[in-house]
Symmetry: C3
C-alpha cells in the first residue's frame, strides 16, 4: 500500500542523505537548499556548463527549475539532464512560468525533446501549457483551468511519460494509471515565494533514495502541503508571512513518518 511505501522513505532519506543537484532560479535557490537539508538530503547548486556533468556523476537526483532561464543556464540544464539520463538518476522538472512567454514554452518543449524527465511538478496552467494547451499563465502564478486536475495530471503523465504533480488546493499526482490527491495545505503557501520550487527539492530528495518515483512524488508534495498546514497552526497572533516562512521550514525539518501517517489526507 502506498502509505507504507512512503513511510519508509522518510527513514531512507535521512539515512542515505541523497545529493540533490539543482539548476534553478536565483529567487528561491536558498529556500531550495535549506528545504533539501531540512528533509535529510544534501543540496548542490552548480550551474557552470563545464562542471554539471561531473556534478551529476556524484548526485542522486537532479532538479531542473525554469524560474529564471537564460541561454547559458539552459544549455547547462540540457547537458546535466542528459548526464542524469545516462546515469539513470531521476530528473525532476519544474516548468516555472511556462505558458507565460513564448520563450519559456519553446524552451520547455525543447528540453522535453532532449531530456527524459522522470517527474514534472507545476501548477495546473504550467502543466497544461507543457502538453500543448493554451493556458493563461500570468507571470509565474497559477491560472485557472476548465479541466479537472486529475484528468490533466493523468493526460500529462501519459503524454510526457513522467509522473506528474499538480500543486493546488488539492494536490494531484498521477503516474498515468493511478491518480492520488492530497487534501492538506494552507492558502498562505501561495502567499510566499518558493513553495513550488521547494516541493521539487523535496520530491527529488525522496526520489534520490528509491526507484519508486511515484511514491517519492506523493511524499514530497504531501510533506510540503502538510508542513504548510502545520506551520499555520504553529503561528501566534500577529505573525505574518515572515514568521510563516520560518515555521514552514521548521515543519519540514520536524516531519517524520509518525506525523505524516497521522495527518496526511490522501485519496
Amino acid at each position: 500500500m502506498q502509505k507504507q511505501l512512503i513511510k519508509d522513505l522518510f527513514i531512507k532519506v535521512k539515512e542515505q542523505n541523497p545529493l540533490v543537484h539543482h539548476i534553478t532560479n536565483q529567487v528561491t535557490i536558498n529556500d531550495c537548499a535549506n528545504a533539501t537539508l531540512a528533509i535529510g538530503g544534501s543540496p548542490v547548486m552548480a550551474t557552470s556548463i563545464e562542471e554539471v556533468e561531473d556534478m551529476v556523476k556524484l548526485a542522486n537526483a537532479l532538479v531542473i527549475n525554469f524560474g529564471m532561464i537564460d541561454d547559458e543556464t539552459y544549455a547547462a540544464m540540457v547537458r546535466a539532464g542528459q548526464a542524469a539520463n545516462t546515469k539513470g538518476i531521476p530528473v525532476i522538472f519544474d516548468p516555472v512560468g511556462v505558458g507565460a512567454t513564448p520563450f519559456r514554452t519553446a524552451r520547455a518543449m525543447d528540453f522535453l525533446k532532449h531530456v527524459s524527465v522522470s517527474i514534472v511538478r507545476g501548477n495546473a496552467s504550467e502543466v497544461f501549457a507543457l502538453i500543448g494547451g493554451e493556458a493563461k499563465t500570468r507571470g509565474v502564478d497559477s491560472g485557472t483551468l476548465a479541466i479537472p486536475a486529475g484528468e490533466l495530471a493523468q493526460n500529462a503523465a501519459i503524454q510526457l511519460q513522467a509522473i506528474t504533480v499538480i500543486s493546488g488546493k488539492l494536490d494531484t499526482i498521477s503516474n498515468g494509471k493511478e491518480i492520488v490527491q492530497i487534501d492538506n495545505g494552507d492558502i498562505w503557501l501561495t502567499r510566499i515565494t518558493g513553495t513550488g520550487c521547494m516541493t521539487a527539492s523535496l520530491i527529488a530528495s525522496f526520489a534520490g533514495v528509491t526507484d519508486d518515483w511515484f511514491s517519492a512524488a506523493i511524499a514530497g508534495m504531501s510533506v510540503m502541503s502538510l508542513a504548510g498546514e502545520r506551520a499555520k497552526k504553529a503561528l501566534q497572533e500577529k505573525d505574518g508571512i515572515g514568521m510563516y516562512r520560518m515555521k514552514l521550514m521548521d515543519e519540514i525539518f520536524l516531519m517524520n513518518e509518525q506525523i505524516w501517517t497521522e495527518e496526511v489526507r490522501l485519496s
Copy 2:
C-alpha cells in the same frame, strides 16, 4: 487629500493583485518577491533578454534595480524599460550604488537616456549622483550630503522628470512641485540588507494599480518605514536582526489602511 488617496491604494492592491516585473540583484531578489506578495502584488523576476518584452506585456509595473548589473542584465533592463514605456506602465528605478564606481554611474546615465523612468528611489548620495553631483557613495551605503533632502528630491524630480523618493531618517518624496516627508522608521532598517530594494517593490505594487504615481511612491515608502518601526516594537528581548527581518515582513503583510492612517506621520 493625499492620505485618502493612499488609503484607497491598500484596498486596490489587494483586489487587483498587480503583476510586478523585477530585473534586480541576486542579494535581495527573494526579499523583493516576498515583499511584493506581502503587500498584495504578484512578483515575476524574468531577466532573459529573449523574454523580458513578453513579460512586460503581462505586467502592471516594472522595477529596475542596479544592485548587481552586468552587460547582459543591463541590456535586458533597457529592453524591458522601453517595452514598459511603450505599454505605459510605470518604471521604478533603484540606482543602487550609483556614484560608487564610474561603471554604475555611466550605466545609470545611459539608462535614463533610453528609458523614461516614472519613479526613482534611492538614498541621498545615489540620487545626488544621478543628477550629476559628485557624491561619495561608499559601496552601496548611503553617504552624507550637504544639500537638504527636500531640495535634492525636488531638484531631482524636476531634472529627471520622475517622482523622486529619498530614503533616510526622514524619507522625502517629491513630484517636482510638492515635497512630502515621512517621519516613521527605525535605525535597524539600515542594519539589514534589502530594505531599499523592497521599498521599490512596494512602490511598484501600488503604482501598478493607479495613475497617481506620487501617491503610490508615498504609500510604498511609508509602508516600509512604518513596518520597520512596528517590527522593532514587536521584538522581544534578545531578538536581533534575524528576527527583525521576519517581523518586518510580517508587518508589511499585516499593514492596512487603518494601521497606516493611525500611525503614519506625513508632513
Copy 3:
C-alpha cells in the same frame, strides 16, 4: 595574548564599519550580506568585471567564494583579487566544493597562481584538495579525512602561505607556526546552508580592521561557532532549522567582547 587582541576587534569592527566586497554564490549571498551587517561591517556584492577593480578601491577586505563559479565570474574574481593584492587589503578565499569536480579544482589552483590569498576557509576535504590531496569532496559537503585537522591546517598554511581555517566539530586555524582550535559550535550549523560562507564574511569583516589576520581568522570562525551554539540554546521546543537560522543571525548581531570572552573555548 590572542584573546585580548580578538576582544579589541569587536569594538574596531563596529567603529570602522569595514566595507567587505564579496564575489560569491547565489545560494547564500543574502546570508553573507546580512552576516556582514550583523557583525558591524558593510557588504557590497558587485561582480561585473567592468567595476570590480573600482569597488576594491573602496573596500577593506575581499571575499572570493567558489560556490557557483562560471567563466565570467571567475575572470572577475581574478581581477578583483589582483586589485586587492595591489592595494594590500586581505583576500579571504572560500574554496567551496573544490575537490568535487575537476573544473573547480583546476580553477582553484589557477586562482592561487594569480592571486595572493591572505586567509583560506574551508572544510577539511576542500582544504586537502587545495594542497593537492585527493579528497573525496561530495558535492559541497565536507568529507572525512585521515589527517588530523591541526596538521592539515598547518601544512596548508605553509604551502598556501595563507592563514588556514578548517571548519569542523573542532575548528582549526593555523598561520603555519601556531595552531588554534575552537571547541564551540552545534551540529545544526551543518543542517542549514550558508554557515561556511557567512564565516568567511565574518573573518573578512574582522580582517578589514586589522593587519593581524590570524586574530581576525580566529575571531570570525569563533563568532560563527559560538553564535551557532547560543542560537541552539535560544530555541524553543518545536523550533527547527527555520527559526535556528534567524536566531543564528540574532546571535551574530548580539555578539560582543563580553559574551565572547566568557563563552569561547580556545586551545
